[in-house]
Protein backbone atom coordinates (compact mmCIF):
# COMPACT_ATOMS: atom_id res chain seq x y z
CA UNK A 1 0.00 0.00 0.00
CA UNK A 2 1.27 3.44 -0.71
CA UNK A 3 0.14 7.00 -0.39
CA UNK A 4 -0.92 8.72 -3.55
CA UNK A 5 0.88 11.93 -4.45
CA UNK A 6 -2.12 13.71 -6.00
CA UNK A 7 -5.56 13.84 -4.41
CA UNK A 8 -8.08 11.27 -5.52
CA UNK A 9 -11.64 12.50 -5.87
CA UNK A 10 -13.89 10.54 -3.47
CA UNK A 11 -17.01 11.20 -5.55
CA UNK A 12 -15.48 9.92 -8.77
CA UNK A 13 -13.49 7.10 -7.17
CA UNK A 14 -16.61 4.96 -6.64
CA UNK A 15 -16.37 2.36 -9.48
CA UNK A 16 -19.77 3.01 -11.07
CA UNK A 17 -19.30 6.77 -11.00
CA UNK A 18 -15.79 6.28 -12.37
CA UNK A 19 -17.28 4.38 -15.34
CA UNK A 20 -20.00 6.99 -15.81
CA UNK A 21 -17.48 9.83 -15.89
CA UNK A 22 -15.12 7.88 -18.17
CA UNK A 23 -17.96 7.39 -20.63
CA UNK A 24 -19.37 10.89 -20.46
CA UNK A 25 -15.93 12.43 -20.93
CA UNK A 26 -15.83 10.69 -24.32
CA UNK A 27 -18.56 13.02 -25.56
CA UNK A 28 -17.34 16.01 -27.51
CA UNK A 29 -18.18 19.65 -26.96
CA UNK A 30 -21.88 20.15 -26.30
CA UNK A 31 -22.92 16.55 -26.96
CA UNK A 32 -25.41 14.96 -24.56
CA UNK A 33 -26.28 11.30 -24.21
CA UNK A 34 -29.64 9.70 -23.50
CA UNK A 35 -30.17 8.25 -20.00
CA UNK A 36 -31.49 4.95 -21.43
CA UNK A 37 -28.42 4.47 -23.58
CA UNK A 38 -26.14 5.21 -20.65
CA UNK A 39 -28.05 2.69 -18.55
CA UNK A 40 -27.73 -0.09 -21.12
CA UNK A 41 -24.09 0.74 -21.88
CA UNK A 42 -23.16 0.49 -18.20
CA UNK A 43 -25.52 -2.41 -17.44
CA UNK A 44 -27.27 -0.59 -14.58
CA UNK A 45 -30.85 -0.26 -13.40
CA UNK A 46 -32.81 2.99 -13.63
CA UNK A 47 -32.60 3.54 -9.88
CA UNK A 48 -28.92 2.76 -9.60
CA UNK A 49 -27.89 5.02 -12.45
CA UNK A 50 -30.27 7.76 -11.29
CA UNK A 51 -28.76 7.74 -7.80
CA UNK A 52 -25.19 7.92 -9.05
CA UNK A 53 -26.05 10.68 -11.52
CA UNK A 54 -27.72 12.63 -8.72
CA UNK A 55 -24.52 12.40 -6.68
CA UNK A 56 -22.43 13.57 -9.61
CA UNK A 57 -24.92 16.36 -10.40
CA UNK A 58 -24.85 17.58 -6.79
CA UNK A 59 -21.11 17.90 -7.12
CA UNK A 60 -21.51 19.81 -10.39
CA UNK A 61 -19.79 17.10 -12.40
CA UNK A 62 -22.69 16.24 -14.71
CA UNK A 63 -25.60 18.20 -16.12
CA UNK A 64 -29.01 16.58 -16.57
CA UNK A 65 -31.54 17.98 -19.02
CA UNK A 66 -35.08 16.67 -18.95
CA UNK A 67 -37.04 17.15 -22.15
CA UNK A 68 -39.69 15.58 -24.37
CA UNK A 69 -38.99 13.80 -27.65
CA UNK A 70 -42.07 12.72 -29.60
CA UNK A 71 -44.12 13.50 -26.47
CA UNK A 72 -42.08 11.02 -24.43
CA UNK A 73 -39.98 12.21 -21.50
CA UNK A 74 -36.25 11.97 -22.09
CA UNK A 75 -33.27 12.78 -19.92
CA UNK A 76 -30.02 13.80 -21.57
CA UNK A 77 -26.78 13.70 -19.62
CA UNK A 78 -23.42 15.40 -20.18
CA UNK A 79 -20.23 15.95 -18.22
CA UNK A 80 -19.69 19.57 -17.20
CA UNK A 81 -16.37 21.38 -17.65
CA UNK A 82 -15.82 21.03 -13.90
CA UNK A 83 -16.57 17.31 -14.12
CA UNK A 84 -14.11 16.85 -16.97
CA UNK A 85 -11.41 18.64 -14.98
CA UNK A 86 -12.12 16.59 -11.86
CA UNK A 87 -12.07 13.35 -13.85
CA UNK A 88 -8.77 14.26 -15.56
CA UNK A 89 -7.23 15.08 -12.16
CA UNK A 90 -8.52 11.83 -10.71
CA UNK A 91 -7.03 9.79 -13.55
CA UNK A 92 -3.73 11.68 -13.16
CA UNK A 93 -3.77 10.84 -9.44
CA UNK A 94 -4.34 7.16 -10.21
CA UNK A 95 -1.50 7.19 -12.71
CA UNK A 96 0.83 8.86 -10.24
CA UNK A 97 0.31 5.95 -7.85
CA UNK A 98 1.59 3.57 -10.51
CA UNK A 99 4.72 5.58 -11.22
CA UNK A 100 7.86 4.02 -9.76
CA UNK A 101 8.91 6.02 -6.69
Amino acid sequence: MEMNGQALDPVIHQPIRLRIMAGLCQLRGAEQVDFTFLKSNLGLTDGNLGAHLATLAEQGYVALEKTFVDRKPKTFVAATAEGRRAFANHVAALQSILKPS
Partner: protein, 194 residues
Protein backbone atom coordinates in the same frame (compact mmCIF):
# COMPACT_ATOMS: atom_id res chain seq x y z
CA UNK B 1 -9.36 12.19 -0.44
CA UNK B 2 -5.91 11.70 0.95
CA UNK B 3 -6.37 8.09 1.75
CA UNK B 4 -4.12 5.23 0.92
CA UNK B 5 -4.86 2.97 -2.01
CA UNK B 6 -2.67 0.22 -3.34
CA UNK B 7 -1.01 0.12 -6.73
CA UNK B 8 -3.28 -2.81 -7.59
CA UNK B 9 -6.39 -0.79 -6.79
CA UNK B 10 -5.11 2.13 -8.86
CA UNK B 11 -4.31 -0.18 -11.77
CA UNK B 12 -7.75 -1.77 -11.53
CA UNK B 13 -9.42 1.66 -11.52
CA UNK B 14 -7.45 2.70 -14.61
CA UNK B 15 -8.43 -0.53 -16.36
CA UNK B 16 -12.06 0.27 -15.56
CA UNK B 17 -11.64 3.74 -17.03
CA UNK B 18 -10.10 2.40 -20.24
CA UNK B 19 -12.76 -0.30 -20.64
CA UNK B 20 -15.54 2.19 -20.08
CA UNK B 21 -14.04 4.69 -22.51
CA UNK B 22 -13.64 2.06 -25.23
CA UNK B 23 -17.11 0.63 -24.79
CA UNK B 24 -18.76 4.03 -24.74
CA UNK B 25 -16.83 5.36 -27.73
CA UNK B 26 -17.62 2.28 -29.78
CA UNK B 27 -21.30 2.33 -28.91
CA UNK B 28 -21.64 6.02 -29.73
CA UNK B 29 -19.88 5.70 -33.06
CA UNK B 30 -21.75 2.64 -34.18
CA UNK B 31 -25.20 3.45 -32.88
CA UNK B 32 -27.45 2.93 -35.88
CA UNK B 33 -24.73 4.32 -38.16
CA UNK B 34 -24.69 1.01 -40.00
CA UNK B 35 -28.30 1.60 -40.98
CA UNK B 36 -27.22 4.52 -43.19
CA UNK B 37 -24.87 2.10 -44.96
CA UNK B 38 -27.69 -0.39 -45.47
CA UNK B 39 -30.03 2.29 -46.81
CA UNK B 40 -27.55 3.63 -49.37
CA UNK B 41 -26.21 0.19 -50.21
CA UNK B 42 -29.78 -0.84 -50.98
CA UNK B 43 -30.33 2.28 -53.09
CA UNK B 44 -27.18 1.64 -55.14
CA UNK B 45 -28.01 -2.01 -55.69
CA UNK B 46 -31.55 -1.12 -56.80
CA UNK B 47 -30.33 1.68 -59.11
CA UNK B 48 -27.65 -0.40 -60.77
CA UNK B 49 -29.86 -3.43 -61.26
CA UNK B 50 -32.61 -1.21 -62.65
CA UNK B 51 -30.24 0.46 -65.11
CA UNK B 52 -28.80 -2.90 -66.15
CA UNK B 53 -32.12 -4.68 -66.58
CA UNK B 54 -34.54 -1.94 -67.58
CA UNK B 55 -35.49 -1.07 -71.15
CA UNK B 56 -35.55 2.63 -70.17
CA UNK B 57 -32.63 3.06 -67.77
CA UNK B 58 -32.58 6.86 -68.03
CA UNK B 59 -36.10 7.24 -66.60
CA UNK B 60 -37.16 8.74 -63.30
CA UNK B 61 -36.67 5.60 -61.23
CA UNK B 62 -32.95 6.09 -60.35
CA UNK B 63 -33.66 9.62 -59.14
CA UNK B 64 -36.69 8.47 -57.18
CA UNK B 65 -34.48 5.88 -55.48
CA UNK B 66 -32.17 8.69 -54.33
CA UNK B 67 -35.17 10.36 -52.69
CA UNK B 68 -35.98 7.06 -50.98
CA UNK B 69 -32.40 6.98 -49.69
CA UNK B 70 -32.62 10.54 -48.37
CA UNK B 71 -35.91 9.75 -46.61
CA UNK B 72 -34.38 6.59 -45.12
CA UNK B 73 -31.33 8.49 -43.89
CA UNK B 74 -33.53 11.12 -42.29
CA UNK B 75 -35.47 8.46 -40.39
CA UNK B 76 -32.23 6.83 -39.18
CA UNK B 77 -30.81 10.23 -38.25
CA UNK B 78 -33.90 11.00 -36.23
CA UNK B 79 -33.41 7.81 -34.22
CA UNK B 80 -29.72 8.60 -33.75
CA UNK B 81 -30.57 12.04 -32.38
CA UNK B 82 -32.53 10.34 -29.64
CA UNK B 83 -29.29 8.87 -28.32
CA UNK B 84 -26.78 11.66 -28.69
CA UNK B 85 -27.82 15.26 -29.06
CA UNK B 86 -25.29 17.63 -30.47
CA UNK B 87 -25.33 21.06 -32.02
CA UNK B 88 -25.04 21.26 -35.78
CA UNK B 89 -21.41 21.46 -36.83
CA UNK B 90 -21.55 24.34 -39.30
CA UNK B 91 -17.93 23.97 -40.38
CA UNK B 92 -18.54 20.34 -41.28
CA UNK B 93 -21.69 21.22 -43.22
CA UNK B 94 -19.79 23.95 -45.06
CA UNK B 95 -16.99 21.53 -45.96
CA UNK B 96 -19.54 18.97 -47.17
CA UNK B 97 -21.40 21.63 -49.18
CA UNK B 98 -18.16 22.67 -50.87
CA UNK B 99 -17.36 19.08 -51.79
CA UNK B 100 -20.85 18.31 -53.09
CA UNK B 101 -21.07 21.69 -54.81
CA UNK B 102 -17.85 21.08 -56.68
CA UNK B 103 -18.77 17.48 -57.38
CA UNK B 104 -22.31 18.12 -58.54
CA UNK B 105 -21.84 21.43 -60.34
CA UNK B 106 -18.29 22.37 -61.22
CA UNK B 107 -17.09 19.22 -62.90
CA UNK B 108 -20.17 17.83 -64.65
CA UNK B 109 -21.74 21.11 -65.74
CA UNK B 110 -18.97 23.68 -66.00
CA UNK B 111 -15.88 21.69 -66.91
CA UNK B 112 -17.35 18.73 -68.80
CA UNK B 113 -20.78 20.02 -69.74
CA UNK B 114 -19.86 21.40 -73.19
CA UNK B 115 -17.78 18.53 -74.38
CA UNK B 116 -19.14 15.63 -76.41
CA UNK B 117 -19.98 12.80 -74.08
CA UNK B 118 -18.22 9.49 -74.63
CA UNK B 119 -20.13 6.32 -75.34
CA UNK B 120 -19.79 5.19 -71.77
CA UNK B 121 -21.12 8.53 -70.42
CA UNK B 122 -23.74 7.00 -68.13
CA UNK B 123 -21.19 4.70 -66.50
CA UNK B 124 -18.70 7.54 -66.22
CA UNK B 125 -21.22 9.88 -64.66
CA UNK B 126 -22.46 7.24 -62.24
CA UNK B 127 -18.93 6.30 -61.21
CA UNK B 128 -18.06 9.95 -60.74
CA UNK B 129 -21.16 10.66 -58.63
CA UNK B 130 -20.49 7.56 -56.54
CA UNK B 131 -16.89 8.70 -56.03
CA UNK B 132 -18.07 12.13 -54.85
CA UNK B 133 -20.41 10.39 -52.40
CA UNK B 134 -17.51 8.28 -51.15
CA UNK B 135 -15.37 11.39 -50.67
CA UNK B 136 -18.21 12.73 -48.49
CA UNK B 137 -17.98 9.50 -46.46
CA UNK B 138 -14.20 9.86 -46.18
CA UNK B 139 -14.50 13.51 -45.15
CA UNK B 140 -17.05 12.56 -42.49
CA UNK B 141 -14.72 9.81 -41.27
CA UNK B 142 -11.79 12.21 -40.99
CA UNK B 143 -13.87 14.91 -39.34
CA UNK B 144 -15.48 12.70 -36.72
CA UNK B 145 -12.70 10.14 -36.47
CA UNK B 146 -14.80 7.13 -37.36
CA UNK B 147 -15.06 4.10 -39.67
CA UNK B 148 -16.58 6.06 -42.57
CA UNK B 149 -13.08 7.08 -43.66
CA UNK B 150 -12.20 3.45 -44.43
CA UNK B 151 -15.58 2.72 -46.02
CA UNK B 152 -15.12 5.77 -48.27
CA UNK B 153 -11.59 4.86 -49.30
CA UNK B 154 -12.25 1.16 -49.89
CA UNK B 155 -15.36 1.76 -51.97
CA UNK B 156 -13.64 4.52 -53.96
CA UNK B 157 -11.01 2.00 -54.91
CA UNK B 158 -13.61 -0.59 -55.91
CA UNK B 159 -15.51 1.96 -58.02
CA UNK B 160 -12.35 3.02 -59.88
CA UNK B 161 -11.36 -0.62 -60.49
CA UNK B 162 -14.85 -1.38 -61.80
CA UNK B 163 -14.85 1.59 -64.15
CA UNK B 164 -11.33 1.07 -65.49
CA UNK B 165 -11.19 -2.71 -65.79
CA UNK B 166 -14.75 -4.05 -65.83
CA UNK B 167 -16.65 -1.47 -67.88
CA UNK B 168 -18.72 -4.04 -69.87
CA UNK B 169 -20.03 -5.38 -66.56
CA UNK B 170 -20.08 -2.00 -64.84
CA UNK B 171 -23.65 -2.07 -63.50
CA UNK B 172 -23.28 -5.60 -62.17
CA UNK B 173 -19.96 -4.61 -60.63
CA UNK B 174 -21.43 -1.51 -58.96
CA UNK B 175 -24.43 -3.42 -57.63
CA UNK B 176 -22.22 -6.14 -56.20
CA UNK B 177 -19.15 -4.25 -54.98
CA UNK B 178 -20.36 -0.67 -54.40
CA UNK B 179 -23.94 -1.27 -53.21
CA UNK B 180 -23.08 -4.67 -51.78
CA UNK B 181 -19.92 -3.19 -50.28
CA UNK B 182 -21.94 -0.61 -48.39
CA UNK B 183 -24.35 -3.25 -47.10
CA UNK B 184 -21.45 -5.52 -46.08
CA UNK B 185 -19.71 -2.58 -44.38
CA UNK B 186 -22.92 -1.98 -42.44
CA UNK B 187 -22.93 -5.60 -41.22
CA UNK B 188 -19.26 -5.34 -40.29
CA UNK B 189 -19.76 -2.10 -38.36
CA UNK B 190 -22.77 -3.57 -36.61
CA UNK B 191 -20.90 -6.64 -35.44
CA UNK B 192 -17.50 -5.05 -34.76
CA UNK B 193 -18.57 -1.90 -32.91
CA UNK B 194 -21.65 -3.08 -31.12
Amino acid sequence: MNEIISREEAAEALRLVEASRASFRSAIRAYRGYQHLWVWGGVWIAQCLYIQLSAHPQGWVPNALVLVGIAGSMIVGRHQAQLVRKPIDRRFLAALAMLIGFGALAWPWVLAGHRPLPQQASQMYYAYTALVAMQCYALTGIWFDNYLLWVGLLLSLLIVVGYLFFLPWFWWWMALFAGGGLVASGFYVRSAWK
